[in-house]
Symmetry: none
Amino acid sequence: MEIESDLLLAINPNSGVPIYRQVCEQITRMVASGQLKAGEALPSVRQIATQFAVNPMTISKAYSLLEADGVLARVRGVGMKVAQRNDLEQNLEERLLFITPAIETLVTQVEQLNIPQDEVLKAIKLRLEKGK
Amino acid sequence: MEIESDLLLAINPNSGVPIYRQVCEQITRMVASGQLKAGEALPSVRQIATQFAVNPMTISKAYSLLEADGVLARVRGVGMKVAQRNDLEQNLEERLLFITPAIETLVTQVEQLNIPQDEVLKAIKLRLEKGK
Amino acid sequence: MEIESDLLLAINPNSGVPIYRQVCEQITRMVASGQLKAGEALPSVRQIATQFAVNPMTISKAYSLLEADGVLARVRGVGMKVAQRNDLEQNLEERLLFITPAIETLVTQVEQLNIPQDEVLKAIKLRLEKGK
Amino acid sequence: MEIESDLLLAINPNSGVPIYRQVCEQITRMVASGQLKAGEALPSVRQIATQFAVNPMTISKAYSLLEADGVLARVRGVGMKVAQRNDLEQNLEERLLFITPAIETLVTQVEQLNIPQDEVLKAIKLRLEKGK
DNA sequence: GTGGTCTAGACCACC
DNA sequence: GTGGTCTAGACCACA
């Protein structure tokens, strides 16, 4: 069972964002979008820590926070799994709430830079297409 | 001459973002957008510090960083002014570069949440109109 | 592991040159000359501060500036290390650039004092030999 | 008598060196090298201040220091002139003493950068020739 | 353990 | 008046 999932997270230690936070946010989003389903098992702390050359305590902290948030559940002697009864319905409205802060940040900057709306939308559209 | 400029910055000490960084970013944007013109004088360290009930060193740190960045220039014994030769031309392309990181963040989240593009664009458009 | 590195910097609090600047310049030169190699760890802020009876913030300021300059890199929760991709290659040409300002200063003074070139070169040669 | 001397000083407000110090040092060197002769009159404070767009008080301070140093003498109602009995003989040894600090700075940097002596001398020689 | 941020208050140099 | 430097000590976030 060690082949679990090698390509789950994208951790960047130099992004300014704390590592534990990156883990939390990414797993939360994956659960919200259904990429991780209720009951599904997660890689062990040691596994992730090794994979990204990160301190195990950092991953452990992330898992603990996710458990406190009700996103994950701890199964003694086994590991972590996605919580069963989950507030994170795949409902679109809910998911849109997640990106509100990012939109706020963006809009603030746009206004202070005096960038026309069309240009902003054009740039975002372009970037979204590229990701496809 | 006391009416100099009362309405310049919007500092929020509880935003998680360091105060000196808020100052840096906002002034940088104001220079980039042309709200602050080359050669224009800035409020003194003590002025801003008093206005926002912040320690002068905090503002001073921001000014120093902005000088190191080439955004501001120091005039000894007089104060700070917007740097003359400025990379931050007001042209649109340059300004769009400033919001690239914010767009990246947004797009990453959108993809991990599996939100359809139209919904994202709709939400942003809505938010932009509101700000008007 | 306490024998880490005791003999690194030469700080003189009365030289007129700000302490943080002395630290910056010396570390920059050590990196440029290869005395400090890419990835190598640096003494902690508190370690240096204690060693030279200086306020930790002063050293911290130096480290921050060196990070902004791309000379050092921060490893969160661990400390500072020499940046990996470093403009400060050890090639001779690059290092010669570092002493250009000092040469400029010298030459200006020499010209204003009307000192013959041979005399200048002789004096410098003498001083260089002495240092050996 | 207003045509005195338009091209005397080279003041750079952004060099980091205080303006009054630049004035002091340059005039001192000119006296030492004989470019300014004993009894010779100097431009008025206002003249220099206007020429370089500098605060008159700054020039005044420089003149005062030079007077205290015995380099200049104040003639009431007339202005400043180069002091008559002057320690600054044009003797070569004396003049060489003036550049000792600049040489020290240079040598320190050279040693910390591990630059070979020949390269240093070559670079200086090159720069000296260029100035010719 | 690491570095980062902020404060309050001192002193300095420059203009 | 301006900004710069430093201190002593507090608290926080990260690993």
